[in-house]
Amino acid sequence: MIDLLDTNPTIASIAQSNSLMDYSATVVTENDASERPAVDDYPFGQPVLVPVASRKGERVAVSVVYTTQIVDPGMGGVGPSLGSGDVTSEFKPNLVSEPTTVLGIAVLGTATLDDSADGGIAAPDHGIPRYTLQHGAHVVQAPPETFAAFHRSDGETPPSGAADGDVRLAYYPRLVEVAGGFAAELVEAITDRLRATTSGQDDLLGVIERKVAQQAAEERGVL
């Protein structure tokens, strides 16, 4: 049942949250695992899965990496130090050099883990997640087919106006809030991935990209 979370590489663990939809996760270091993920494992727009621990069953938060930040705790230590001579220049008690990378994770929605379903998930929900993610929860790379399955509207009543099988990005207004200034590029990164994994949706994805780009250009004062 939790195959998806076991079989895909863990790239980070949840460290902090700004809201129900906006989390920070620290990238796995040598200290946490034998194999440290490379930068191309968590690019801008990388889809990830985070387990949602609740008593109501195994659900997973489908999310994307929307920003990164490099943090060096040692940065605070740069400056004049007390002491004298050669000793102080080498003396660093209790401190390990551990600069790390923090990922900004935007939650798009939730889905139920289901091995039998296409992409390993079922019942995608683009609404705001009801429960928080847990501190320390593993952030796992989402395979492309899982990400595509999350955006399909099969099996549910499509909203009025939608054609059968249309992709859905119903989280869009909330994602813009979380991703802030780079929302347009983030949506484009998502639509790029969807274009590669879905068929017959190019026109619709194109209009969405244009709309998002137009809005961003207006907000940034370009237009």
Partner: protein, 564 residues
């Protein structure tokens, strides 16, 4: 009194409450007497549609809740989709909206500006202005058809009519536009139309003679049995004779309408019916001749009877034996004696032309414009004098007394009452301004309102206006038609064939209507030029051609020869 027979009024707040709610009032509108309501329904609140709401109004009887009617004037979608959603015509914007999590069905919302028409006052049989707009939150509903059918025509509502009263003659001209077919009848009181005159204004091809025919059909039905005279310069009303055999027009007492079609060869004007001004127009005399003519005319008038052109010549000679009249004699000979149109005896006896239940169509297509005007002037004068004499109780003063009201219809009215010089203009003006008193009504049909005499047009109390795109014509309607509000004028270019704006005395408020289908065939369709050309070409091809050589080796020619 048959009070027991009286049904209850259909216009009650309770009856209105049974209708589904269309929207909710937001605020007063931009102009006095207007208000704005919100509705998610884009189908029901079309421009020109009647809506209604219940409102307590303080009157003589204290606060009474009344049904107030209003008309949708403008509509505006509140939350339109961003233009970028339309960037690819192959992708419906609603698909984009749905993909981005916006459900249009839930969000579409319209701001509708409506103008208060008023509440229906049964005592006055008309709308009265409540002088206040609905408060915010008032529920607005579509005005029920049963209420509109009572409130729109300017007649006593059916539930208040004494059963002993004759039914008012109602002309069912069509249905209310915007409503599903057959829902709301538009009926016009024939009395009002005949008394206050009618104008049918429309561009070519938008159905003006069709509409007139519908009205004529209604006037000739057993319930009305009108006496109608049609001046028809194009011969478009021939098919009305189908009414005679149509059971729709048959009365229980054996009545069938009498349809008399008079060809132009059958039309003439009696010389004795011409006024001096008419003679002046026909003969075009010089100043000297004019004096001779006047003397002769006065002398003949004193004789008080029919006279011929020769009589006129002779009388001229009598009064001016010194050959002053020789030029005039020549003119009388040329213009009156040699004309088939002017005659000594009358072939247009009013007794044969106007009778109750009879429509007479004067096909004037063979006559010159001057003769058309002359004939209209002569006939209208006779009718006017005949009616005036009967109504004022002095029928012996005229040759013809006309015992019943008469409705006259002028097709291509700008020929008879143009904005300029016409022989018929004075009498048409007179009939339009005073005919009401004497039961003489006119209907003017024109495709060029701007070419019509504005006084005449402004005296037409009821207007049926159809599609008009020409700005000059729109301006003419704006200037001349009092009851044509801006809303009506805005509708004119957008109307399609058979759709009309009905305004004026016959209706309590301007309505948009779809004219009903005719019972008789319609003849005024445009000619199918392409078909006629093909036929003419084929005919020319099949006929032996004198210009071709006999030795021609053209096989078609040979065939033709053989065929012959």
């Amino acid at each position: 009194m048959a009070v027991d027979d009286q049904r209850e009024t259909p216009i009650t707040p309770e009856a209105l409450a049974a209708e589904p709610v269309l929207g909710t009032v937001i605020e007063p509108g931009p102009e006095a007497g207007a208000f704005v309501f919100a509705t998610p329904d884009d189908q029901q609140a079309k421009t020109g549609e009647f809506v209604a709401y219940a409102q307590p109004l303080v009157g003589d009887d204290g606060a009474v809740e009344r049904v107030v009617f209003a008309r949708v004037a403008e509509r505006e979608q509140v939350d339109t989709l961003p233009t970028a959603f339309m960037s690819n015509p192959d992708v419906a914007p609603r698909r984009v909206a749905a993909a981005l999590g916006v459900d249009r069905e839930d969000r579409s919302l319209y701001r509708i500006t409506a103008e208060v028409v008023g509440y229906y006052d049964e005592q006055f049989e008309s709308f009265r202005n409540p002088r206040q707009v609905p408060t915010e939150g008032t529920l607005v509903r579509r005005a029920p058809g049963a209420m509109l059918e009572v409130a729109i025509p300017t007649v006593t509502p059916p539930h208040l009519r004494d059963s002993a009263d004759p039914d008012p003659g109602m002309a069912h001209v069509g249905r209310l536009l915007n409503r599903p077919d057959e829902e709301v009848c538009v009926e016009l009181p024939v009395n009002e139309i005949a008394a206050t005159h009618l104008a049918i204004l429309a561009s070519t091809g938008s159905g003006k003679s069709y509409t007139a025919s519908v009205l004529l059909e209604e006037m000739l039905k057993p319930a009305t049995r009108a006496s109608v005279l049609v001046f028809d310069p194009h011969g478009e009303y021939d098919s009305l004779d189908q009414m005679v055999d149509n059971p729709v027009f048959a009365g229980e007492d054996g009545y069938t309408p009498d349809v008399v079609i008079r060809d132009s060869s059958d039309l003439n004007v009696r010389i004795a019916d011409l006024t001096f001004s008419d003679l002046y127009e026909v003969l075009g005399p010089t100043e000297r001749m004019s004096s001779v003519l006047n003397d002769a005319y006065q002398a003949l008038q004193r004789q008080n009877g029919a006279y011929s052109a020769r009589d006129l010549q002779t009388t001229c000679d009598q009064y001016h034996p010194d050959n002053d009249a020789s030029g005039l004699r020549w003119r009388i000979n040329r213009n009156l004696m040699q004309s088939n149109f002017f005659s000594t005896h009358d072939r247009l006896d009013l007794d044969t032309l106007i009778n109750p239940g009879q429509i007479t169509v004067l096909k004037m297509n063979g006559l010159s414009r001057r003769d058309q005007q002359m004939m209209a002037a002569v006939l209208l004068r006779k009718l006017y004098q005949g009616r005036e004499a009967v109504v004022t109780g002095d029928p012996d003063t005229v040759d013809y007394s006309v015992e019943h009201p008469v409705f006259t219809l002028f097709e291509e009215a700008h020929r008879f009452a143009p904005d300029g010089d016409s022989h018929a203009l004075d009498i048409i003006r007179q009939v339009n301004s005073e005919g009401r008193k004497f039961g003489l009504g006119t209907g003017l049909i024109s495709q060029r309102p701007s070419k019509l005499d504005q006084t005449v047009l402004s005296q037409c109390g009821t207007q049926i206006t159809m599609q008009i795109t020409n700005p000059a014509d729109q301006q003419a309607i704006r200037d001349a038609v009092e009851s044509a509000g801006e809303a009506v004028l805005d509708e004119l270019p957008g109307l399609t064939k058979g759709q009309a704006v009905i305004s004026g005395d016959a209706v309590n408020t301007t309505v948009l209507a779809k004219i009903r289908g005719r019972e008789t065939e319609h003849k005024a369709e445009s000619l199918a030029a392409d078909q006629l050309w093909r036929e003419a070409y084929d005919e020319a091809q099949s006929a032996p051609s004198g210009s071709r050589s006999v030795e021609s080796d053209d096989p078609t020619y040979e065939d033709t020869e053989l065929g012959d």
